[in-house]
Every structure is written in structure tokens, then in C-alpha cells.
Symmetry: C2
Subunit: 246 residues, 2 copies
């Protein structure tokens, strides 16, 4: 489907259009907020910025409130408008993606808690190269997944899924490096473990961005591609065959 500003304009009921547009706007605002939370959490950690670390944890309430509002709006649409076909898929996809966004927010808050602890200990930011690198990549993934969602762009969603496979590889390699470092110099065990938790959170954020991308493909193609080989998904989205689930 082509990017279009008229995604919502095909309905006979203008009330329905308005409801869907409203909740879509809320969903995109939630996405922007969550993306900022991840960016701030990583900055708080790398710059040992205590104020920012506290701010991210406080703003998590705001993320949670967005989640509730969006789910409430989606439930009202289902109860009153009985959406069908692609509209129903959009409502359901948004409901699933809403949960993923909230979980990304949780991981950002976890990173901020660790940033606060390390900053209070006066620890200098060493061994953070992997965090910076993987952190930048997952931020791009969130942004691209949300863009794909807004534009109903299955190809862009595929691109995010490909990036998630890269993150998983880099995560494993970073974890091995940290483990070796810890064994060679056990004095820094406690700090290295904290960096490991941060990397784990970043890897989880990548998974959630991938989940959101799977929902984009569900909206656009009407296919549930969760737990499916990437190559099969790629062939399906690019119109070469039907997916075979594993």
C-alpha cells in the first residue's frame, strides 16, 4: 500500500473516521513518547546524568496512562462501530502494538534505574561502547517500526525485522565480551552485570520493535507472521508465495 494521508477517508461514517483518526493520533503520540524515553535513558546512563535518570522513571507513569487511554478508545470503537476487515485488523494490531510500546517504556525505566544507581555510585562510563552502539540501533528500529505503522508499509516493516536479527547477533557477541572481561578482572563484576542488564533491556526493546513490525504486516497483508521464518515472511510480503508457519 502506498503512503497516504487518506488512510481513514474510505469510511461512509465520518464519526468512525474521526474515532480511528483520534486513536491513531494517540498511538503515534505514545510511540514518540516511548522513543524519547529510550533515548533519554541511554543518555542518562552514558552521561551519568542523575536528573535525567530520575526524569525518565517519573515519565513512565505518563507512558502507562497513554496505554490505558489507547486501549479504552479501541474498546469503544469495537463496541460501537463494529469494524470489519482492514479496519478490524488495524484496531487489533494497534491493541497489540500498544502493549509492546508500553513494555518498551518499562525497559527504558529499567535502564534509567540502573543509570541512577551507577550515577549515585559515581561510576565513570567505561565499557559502554556496546551500549551506545546497540542503543542507537534500537532507537532507529523503534522509529522505523512506527513509521511503517503510520504509512502501512510492509516493506519498511521487513527492514525492521532484518535489523532485529543483527541486534541479536551483536547482543550475543557483547555479552560474551563482558563475560570474558568479568572473569579476567573480577573487581568490576557488579558494574559489568549492570551493563549486562542494560544490554538485555536493549535487546528486548529490539524484540518489541520487531513485534510492532509483525503487526504492520498483519494490517497490510492480513497474515499472522509471528513465529515464522524471516525468509518466508520476505517472500510473502514481496508477493512470491504464501507463508508456512513453523
Amino acid at each position: 500500500m502506498e503512503p497516504s494521508t487518506s488512510v481513514f477517508s474510505h469510511h461512509i461514517s465520518s464519526q468512525f473516521n474521526e474515532n480511528l483518526e483520534d486513536v491513531n493520533a494517540k498511538f503515534m503520540a505514545m510511540g514518540g513518547l516511548v522513543e524519547q524515553q529510550v533515548a533519554n535513558a541511554i543518555h542518562a546512563l552514558l552521561d551519568t546524568n542523575l536528573d535525567l535518570a530520575v526524569k525518565v522513571q517519573e515519565a513512565d507513569n505518563n507512558v502507562n496512562q497513554h496505554e490505558r487511554d489507547i486501549d479504552e478508545a479501541l474498546t469503544l470503537i469495537l463496541a460501537r462501530r463494529h469494524p470489519a476487515a482492514s479496519d478490524l485488523r488495524m484496531v487489533l494490531a494497534m491493541s497489540k502494538a500498544n502493549t509492546d510500546l508500553e513494555r518498551i517504556g518499562d525497559e527504558a525505566a529499567k535502564i534509567a534505574r540502573i543509570a541512577q544507581a551507577l550515577s549515585e555510585d559515581g561510576e565513570s562510563p567505561r565499557g559502554y561502547m556496546e551500549t551506545r552502539h546497540i542503543g542507537n540501533q534500537v532507537r532507529i528500529m523503534i522509529r522505523e517500526a512506527l513509521d511503517a505503522f503510520a504509512r502501512l508499509d510492509a516493506e519498511a516493516a521487513l527492514h525492521v525485522m532484518r535489523a532485529d536479527a543483527d541486534i541479536d547477533r551483536e547482543y550475543s557477541s557483547a555479552m560474551r565480551a563482558l563475560m570474558t572481561y568479568m572473569i579476567e578482572d573480577p573487581r568490576h563484576i557488579s558494574r559489568v552485570i549492570n551493563v549486562m542488564w542494560v544490554l538485555r533491556s536493549l535487546e528486548r526493546i529490539g524484540d518489541h520493535a520487531r513485534n510492532i513490525s509483525e503487526q504492520v504486516i498483519y494490517m497490510v497483508k492480513g497474515l499472522d507472521v509471528r513465529h515464522t521464518d524471516f525468509e518466508q515472511i520476505e517472500e510473502t510480503v514481496q508477493g512470491k508465495s504464501k507463508p508456512k508457519n513453523d
Copy 2:
């Protein structure tokens, strides 16, 4: 609401009853399967049972298939039957809880992967007391959350949420103990880190069981109690006041 076998009998359309009963049966089968996966993963780890560890990882495909089937059935009900009020809440709650069950399955598979690695290394099961203890508790939480769901029992759901707070405390204390152990005797760093990942997975499973319980309260009371203080939820469920979200 009292436990009842006639939860589905109030609908005029017998077709609707049948659809809801079918998907409910699938959901409960999924729950039983996931509960078994967690039990097997913990056994595989504690008994260094390589075969069982492999079996759990293979069976994760089965869990994933259940997730897809349930979501497909729920989407059909929404598209064809336009459920309202408590029926709509049940469909939406099942959709959210379905995701949580699948994630519990993922955590069980992660534990099984670690069990396999440790078993291939010929590591003897030491330092596993916390794993056994917290493992037993989260298994009980899953069972109780599913029972609460089946019986639409908000009080039982509250009980699960209370248990999750206990798990979180025991998890933190176990992690501190493992950290100390590692610093005192760095020869076992690699194995202790693996035990930490297992504990983290168990703690996440407890969170998912709590999420399922929140959906029970949503079904029964029509209230979204996510991100709400436990005391406020308790007062609301026990009919003392309205919840104030944080």
C-alpha cells in the same frame, strides 16, 4: 461472580455460545501447556536432564501455534458476532492474556536452553535452591491465574497479584546473594550468571501471571487496573471504593 459452568449460557445465539466456548477451551489448553513447559524447564535444569531440556525447546512451536489459533478465533468472533459489554471484555482480556501465555512459553524455552548448555557442560546443580523455590511459586501463580480466569474470580486474581509482590522481593534477595557469591569466588562466574538469567526469567513469568490476573479483574469488574497501587485494586475489588490510577 460465582464459579459457574454456565458462564456462556446467557446468549440468545447458540452459535455465539459455541464460538466463545471453543476459544475458551483453546485458551485453557494453551494455559495447561504453558504451565507444563515451565514445570519441565525447571526440572530439566535442576535434574540436568538434557532430553527434557531439548523437548521443552521443541514444544515451544506448539505454544506458538496455540497463540495464533486463539487470536484467529478471537478475530472471527469480533468480525462476525460483534460482542458487547462483558462478552467484549472477555474477548479482549483473552487476547491480552494469550500474549502473556506465549511470553511465559518463551521464558520456559530460555530456561530450557540454559539447562541444555549447563547439562552439556556436565555442571552439577549447585546454588539452585532459590531457583527451585521461586520456580515452584511461579508455577502456582500460573495455575491460580488460569483458575481465576476460568472461574471469573476477582478475589483469586488479587491473590496472584499479592504473590507477585512476594516473588519480586525474593528475586531481589536471591540476586544479591548470587552477586556476593560471584565476587567472593569468581571461578564460577559463568555458571552463576546463567542461574541469574534463569531467575530473571522466573521473575518475568511472575509478571505475566500478574498481567493475566489484571485481565480477570477487567473482565469481572470492567476496570483497567494496570499500573495501579495494589491497595487501591484491593479496595475496588472488595467493593470499598473506585480505583485511582497512578
